[in-house]
Amino acid sequence: FTSLRECKMQDFGSLILEELDKANQLDSLKFAQRHEVDEQKIVGAIKSLESLGDVIQTKIYQVKSWQLTAEGKEVAANGSHEYRVYSAVPDSGIQQSKLMSSCGAFGKVGFSKAMSAGWIKIDKSQGAPVVMKLVESASDTVGEHMVLIQKGESEKVDAKLKGEYKKRKLLEEVVDKHYTINKGTNFRTKIEKAPTELTADMIASGTWKTTSLKPYNLDALGVETGGGCLHPLLKVRAEYRQIFLEMGFSEMRTNNFVESSFWNFDALFQPQQHPARDAHDTFFISDPATSDRFPKDYLERVKKVHSVGGFDSQGYGYDWKIEEASKNLLRTHTTAVSARMLYRAAQAPQFVPQKLFSIDRVFRNETLDATHLAEFHQIEGVVADYGITLGHCIGVINTFFTKLGIEKLRFKPAYNPYTEPSMEIFSYHEGLGKWVEIGNSGMFRPEMLLPMGLPEGVNCIGFGLSLERPTMIKYKIDNIRDLVGHKVNLEMVKRNPICRIDKSGTGEERRLQVLNRRWANIESKLSCIQKQMEVMGISTATAHGMAADSSDGNLMDVVIKVHPDKPPYSLQLLLNVLKKRFKVAASTHTHSSVKSAGSLVLSSDESRITADVKITLIYSNVTRPTMIVKNAQIQGEENIVRYLARILDSRGGGNLYESLDSKVVAQIDNILDRLTDASKHSVSTLIPGILTKSKYLAGNRVTIADILAYSLCKQAAVSNSSIKDWSKRVEDAIAKM
């Protein structure tokens, strides 16, 4: 085995198997020592044998041992620092500074050690300190110990001393892993290496028929594909572009970043003193500073409608200046291009209906932050035709966003100088649980369209949004600089998924959405069945009980969704009161989005058909308790309590909330706000604080403030004595109502 050191891993493997065959058990450390090879190579061979499938069995054991550090090795070679310092002192003594400079790096440590060992002393009687030998000879124990340990005879050195050497950083304790090897159930001495790949040679020679291939490692990742990738924002741009094209919108020519104020503002009936025209908000161009080639007649009409009005308008009543209109700027919106397109359409001999879109860069000289840059992409859609109405505007926007997978939309009145009516577009963001603004829209003002020469009766709708914002939301990017600009991480660009724009959220969120949709489907089917039953005369909802409001049909039919971690104990209290006054049907269900129901179960003996009040409690994966009543949603336990209390107060003489004195109501609202704002006030400190002043939270009678607080305490399992007493009082008072 002279050449064993050059052996390959597989050869070690065969060797191990051969020896194992004879000895029945092997030790990796001893095996390595016997063959004078690095144990790591043997370990590699063992691992490789293990992968063959129970040919061998191994057990790991650990051995702690002492090893010299680099400094320790130096001591072993040259003697300890203190000994070297001692040896450097001549019998006649030496000046300390000279000694130190002659000893170099080890001098300082060696000196102090030699001092404490009592080998040397300092004599300061002649001014400069002189070092003298104190003993005639010294034996270098430390150095000897290092040599011993280096030879692997560390057991000969006292354990306490080894601890000290460790502190001196001469020694370190290392833990080595070794293997005990036994025969496995499939033990054999011959191993053939399983080829990993099928090769052309194998096929040609026919050996593939008898060769066993190594199985694929399915837990490892594949090799990266390489190739180039498209930028995420532009992938989203391509999708939006596609949607517009599907809807029959033609693309506008927007490749002109430099625009005149005239087309960017004046043509859009944006007055010259408008704040957007300030240097604060707009990039003005110093070179080329101005434009002057405007259509002359049109310019005059624009001037007139701004300054004195016309086309049924009062105008803005100010002195319109051509100098202001000629200033060049970087366009602040692509609506400047839309204006040019509409003007062009107006010049055609006969007006042709227009459906136009663009997605391109616009520029704002604004304050920059995590979501705003000085340039961004604006998406814009424009429709001009006879008989177009605000209803069409809402319809087109609705279609557009439905294609994006956004279905819950609502519109808020807004102000925009060039549109009237104007609408802000809001969509319900499931993740945030609130309505967020996603775009702007409206009908272009007649003061903009008529001076262009568009025929009377042609209306024009427009809507716009930014490309960056929905992209950031889609890909969950918080800082716009991580998406746009040269600082973007190319790795992000590589890893970014393809843009399936109508599929929002992550894979898991999408699966949850499917579940929710299925659930909503079931709910709507159920309500259809209910309606059919009513038609068949099975329902007797309004025939019974209390003074039913004719507009209501039955008094109340609500679905309340809550998370199982927060059972709405407030409902339990209110339900007790409701049951005494109305026929109440209550039931509790668990949605598949949660594993189990909450601890509270609402139920009643009344059937849904005869009940006036129907409450369905569903444990579901919602962040806030949500009540669905008719088509509306009420969020938050406090608001659900308010709603139920209002009905109780107005129809059942509940006296829990708004039927009380207005000061008390304000007090209740205040407490509800504070209770809800859990970030600032913990219920366990808030409630006892209020209770020191009165019997109940809002004075001397039980109100919904107590009901909500009761529920929150129970959810948080708060129980100190004052809360316990008060909870009991609340339960008793409710029972008496």
Partner: protein, 528 residues
């Protein structure tokens, strides 16, 4: 858009009931306002109060104070009748005389008197706040108009509005104890964060505008500061309002808004005493409080909004928006636009109010009926096709800014800025926005710089617009679509970029010209 701060409890008082935050948010949304934020603020007594921050449309000056906001919301909910604003007929009208000297500086002044007003701390604060909001928004930071309000019982008309050299105007300004000349005043306020921004409006003028009473008491130095002498206090009962302006239309709106809002607190609410302005021999009476009538037709309104409402219903909807309306015999509708609604300048503004009152979210969604055939812009289509092709060739897409510094396009590329046909920005806030880029390469180089930790080689590209100065176009500049690609490795790898070029040419069906003629493409050595 302006945001106003309103104390919740005061708002609830004014609205006659309490609202939960969510209920109020809903009401705002429907009306076109946005409850932006709810905060807790300490008042002067150290008590915590809940304050609503409400975003108001930039054209609704009548909603910039709690008085107007509550009034509009109450009318919207049919809980209040639209108030009628009237001018009183005083025995002797207060007069503002305009001296010709002021015509060059700040030519107009309008005025009004609120009689027998009862102020409280809250009302007073709201009054000041509204003036500030009007100054900031409508009056464009006092450049177009500015208001001074005075305790009328401390001054005596007629009032003279004139311009005098700065050194000649001496008075004790508001909240000061010492008399100062207006020049000294400019020094004093040059460090005042609130007033400093307004100083440039008149600072360099040889004469400053000033208003005196008949005893030569200085009322104000518009648009900077009022005098201490006529300062309003909580005890003030009669308020003299003057509004000086460079834009008379705006001045009138400011005055109308102030008096319609705060005449609410007069003993006879909504009655305002007029003041006459005499300028160059002509007498005008303010506030104008003009009620204008527009006649609209239901069909036109329906055709714009996309609803089907009869004239009566439309009139009813408009009354919710403070636009008193009545149906005429011919079914047309006469709409009265009150002096609070200066934003209504066209029938389309009236139609919008119909739509708001009807509820945007109640309008039926429609689809435009005309068939249109979509056209892609050829250059954008080609761009997208090329982006795909270049990415398939192994290059990753970068997206860089179209604005950059002068050095980015010039010095860093070893060129002189004078030689580059760049479009220059006149008012850049930082170096990053000095010019529009004339090439894509600097952006790609910066991308490499930011991605030095990536494994080599880096292959990136961008297809986007650059901007070049071009006297032949309407605005003097044009965009040009460029493709730029960059290979970054330890060796230069020219053949890689060359290969990409060949591939692109192959895709574009441009042949390689062996003879270096114009019928194909070829490469040539050049110095750059």
């Amino acid at each position: 858009m302006p945001t106003i701060s309103v104390k919740r409890d005061i708002l609830h008082d004014a609205l006659g009931r309490t609202y939960t935050e969510q209920e109020f948010d809903e009401l705002c949304f429907e009306f076109g306002l946005e409850l932006d934020e709810v905060v807790t603020e300490k008042n002067d007594d150290g008590k915590e109060e809940i304050v609503y921050k409400i975003e108001i449309g930039a054209n609704r000056y009548d909603l910039l104070c709690v008085e107007g906001l509550a009034r509009a919301l109450l009318v919207f909910q049919n809980k209040m009748k639209i108030p009628k604003y009237e001018l009183s007929k005083p025995g002797k009208m207060e007069r503002l005389e305009v001296d010709p000297s002021v015509l060059q500086v700040r030519p107009h002044v309008v005025g009004a008197v609120l009689r027998n007003v009862t102020f409280t701390k809250e009302r007073y604060d709201s009054f000041i706040e509204l003036q500030d909001k009007l100054h900031q928004n409508l009056a464009r930071k006092r450049t177009l108009a500015s208001v001074g309000t005075h305790d009328l019982d401390t001054i005596k008309g007629p009032f003279r509005y004139m311009a005098r050299p700065p050194a000649d105007i001496k008075f004790v300004p508001l909240n000061q104890t010492k008399e100062l000349s207006s020049a000294e005043l400019m020094d004093l306020y040059s460090t005042d964060s609130h007033l400093k921004p307004y100083l440039p409006i008149i600072r360099d003028s040889p004469v400053y505008p000033v208003i005196y009473d008949s005893n030569n008491v200085v009322l104000s130095l518009p648009p900077i500061i009022n005098g201490e002498h006529s300062k309003i206090t909580l005890k003030t009962r009669n308020v003299f309002i003057e509004c000086t302006c460079t834009d008379l239309t705006k001045g009138k709106i400011v005055l109308d808004t102030l008096v319609t809002m705060f005449s609410q607190y007069s003993d006879t609410p909504f009655v305002i005493e007029p003041v006459e302005t005499v300028s160059q021999g002509e007498t005008s009476i303010y506030p104008s409080l003009k009620y204008r009538t527009e006649t609209i037709r239901a069909e036109k309104c329906n055709n714009l909004v996309g609803v089907n409402q009869g004239p009566k219903e439309i009139a009813k909807l408009l009354s919710k928006m403070c636009l008193e309306s009545k149906v005429n015999a011919d079914d047309s509708i006469s709409v009265t636009i009150p002096p609070t609604r200066h934003d209504v300048i066209h029938p389309c503004d009236i139609y919008e109010d119909v739509a708001i009152a009807y509820g945007y979210n109640n309008i039926t969604k429609l689809t435009p009926g005309t068939l249109t055939v979509a056209q892609q812009l050829p250059i954008n289509k080609l761009t997208d096709q090329l982006r795909e092709a270049v990415a398939q060739s192994g290059f990753t897409e970068a997206l860089t800014f179209s604005l950059c510094s002068r050095d980015d396009v010039a010095a860093k590329m070893r060129k002189k800025i004078e030689d580059i046909p760049a479009v220059h920005i006149g008012n850049p806030k930082t170096l990053e926005f000095q010019v529009a880029r004339t090439a894509l390469l600097p952006g790609l180089l910066k991308t490499v710089q930011a991605n030095r930790n990536m494994p080599l080689p880096l292959k990136i590209f961008e297809i986007s617009d650059v901007v070049l100065k071009d006297g032949g176009t309407e605005v003097g500049a044009r965009n040009e679509r460029h493709l730029s690609a960059l290979f970054y490795n330890k060796t230069s790898g020219f053949e890689i970029i060359h290969g990409l070029l060949d591939r692109i040419m192959q895709l574009l069906e441009v042949p390689r010209s062996e003879k270096k003629s114009s019928s194909g493409y070829y490469l040539e050595t050049s110095e750059d």
